[in-house]
């Protein structure tokens, strides 16, 4: 199971930044958004479709545009190689019928970049298993 700790976030950042499609579909995707895995929150700073920086230890002075917050169990299902029904997509999880993910803040920016954002989040399914992630240095 994914731990959603610093190493895991760094591994995801690497996968995103190595992706060959995001520079094309994410050309205009530049914002700072918040990802919440239960109590653990990170700010993801995206510049032109690449993740420039991931920040933890957030304070009320850490600005972000929109936030995606969900219980760890929701993200664990979302990040499986073959995610189960109702957990395979952020809009599936956030849909009013289901409520397994909360979308907050300036969601207009989210909808403006929804294609690149969902592509970026789908890369979470490619993060290597925990043993590999553990060996990495933490940048967050």
């Amino acid at each position: 199971m994914a731990q959603f700790d610093s190493q895991w976030m760094n591994a995801w950042q690497d996968d995103v930044n190595e992706d060959s499609t995001l520079p094309m579909i994410g050309r205009y995707f530049t914002t700072d958004f918040l990802l919440g895995f239960g109590d653990k929150e990170y700010r993801v700073s995206v510049r032109e479709g690449r993740i420039e920086r991931i920040t933890d230890n957030l304070s009320i002075e850490t600005p972000w545009t929109f936030a995606l917050r969900a219980p760890v169990e929701s993200w664990e299902r979302f990040t499986q190689k073959v995610p189960p029904p109702m957990y395979n997509d952020i809009w599936a999880m956030a849909h009013p019928l289901h409520g397994r993910l909360q979308m907050d803040g300036n969601v207009k920016i989210m909808w403006q970049n929804i294609r690149a954002l969902t592509w970026m989040l789908a890369r979470m399914r490619e993060v290597p298993d925990h043993a590999v992630v553990e060996e990495r240095a933490t940048r967050v």
């Binding site: 073959v82 029904p85 109702m86 599936a92 849909h95 009013p96 019928l97 909808w111 294609r115």
Partner: protein, 287 residues
């Protein structure tokens, strides 16, 4: 070397409805029992290209897939630029029957998905004497939550946002090329059309108090995929329990667009339904 042609023929027919003559595009293939296919919200008849081309289907059925006005190649009525498009159950159900009448189809089978599935309930209630059977794919009596402004907001790219909003409705097991093809169809809808259709899907279609008014004289086959988060299997099952003459089929490893996201898996579930339609036809002929 001869060119590879598909058996589909595309044509335009003029459909009179409400004092206006709509120019409607449809595709068809095969001969036999008329099988009219209704596309999902915000897209067009291309969703049925696999069923149109399948000899196991078009051998016994005249498969017809139309583009509703404002969709695909069916142009909007004159003056559309001055109106806010909001699809209603009344227009949708009556227009489908007007199309069938224009083509002089005798008691067609009507198969639709998503909003095309939901409209089957209205057809069963109001036009049971004019249809042979209804195949309601991804349908239920109430499907709220989709009438959202971002899908037509001028600050948001309509093509990308509409298409991406439906991508997760498809199962991860469905072939990637077909899922992206469905995304592509959705990226091509006219501005505000997807949301206008969703007015029917999530607002005007509230059939909860009407389920038990369906007589059961026309067979209704509900078919829902397990990855459909807009109309879950549970929502379909609850509706089917209340609708007389219905059968409920839950499809594994497929989502909201069975006919185009995974035609092979869908076929496994669809053929037994079509066999039942044919069996009923034979019984009727004998009687």
């Amino acid at each position: 070397m001869s060119a590879t042609h598909e058996p589909i023929t595309g044509r335009y027919v003029h459909v009179p409805y409400g004092g206006y003559e709509y120019r409607v595009f449809y595709e068809e293939a095969g001969e036999g029992i008329p099988l009219v296919c209704l596309h999902t919200a915000g897209t067009d008849s291309r969703e049925y290209r696999h069923q149109l081309c399948d000899p196991d289907i078009n051998g016994d059925f005249r498969v017809i897939a139309l583009d509703l006005p404002r969709h695909g190649k069916s142009i909007p009525p004159v003056g559309f630029e001055r109106e806010e498009y909001r699809l209603t159950a009344k227009f949708y159900s009556e227009f489908v029957m007007a199309f069938c009448e224009a083509l002089e189809l005798e008691k067609p089978v009507i198969m639709g998905s998503s909003m095309g599935g939901n409209i089957c309930l209205h057809l069963a209630l109001n036009f049971e004497e004019r249809v042979r059977a209804l195949i309601a794919i991804e349908a239920c009596d109430h499907s709220p939550g989709w009438y959202i402004s971002w899908l037509e907001h001028p600050h948001v790219h309509g093509g990308e946002a509409c298409a991406t909003s439906i991508f997760g409705l498809m199962a991860p097991q469905s072939p990637e090329d077909y899922r992206w093809e469905t995304w592509w169809y959705y990226s091509q809808g006219g501005p505000g059309i997807f949301r206008g259709d969703l007015h029917f899907y999530s607002v005007d279609h509230d059939f909860r108090e009407l389920n038990d008014k369906i007589t059961g004289n026309v067979p209704i086959y509900f078919m829902t995929g397990v990855y459909d988060f807009a109309c879950t299997p549970e929502m379909t099952e609850k509706t089917a329990e209340k609708v007389k003459g219905s059968e409920c089929i839950i499809m594994e490893e497929i989502g909201h667009f069975p006919m185009c996201e995974n035609p092979e898996t869908f076929k496994k579930y669809l053929m037994p339904v079509l066999d039942k339609v044919k069996a009923t036809e034979r019984e009727t002929a004998r009687a």
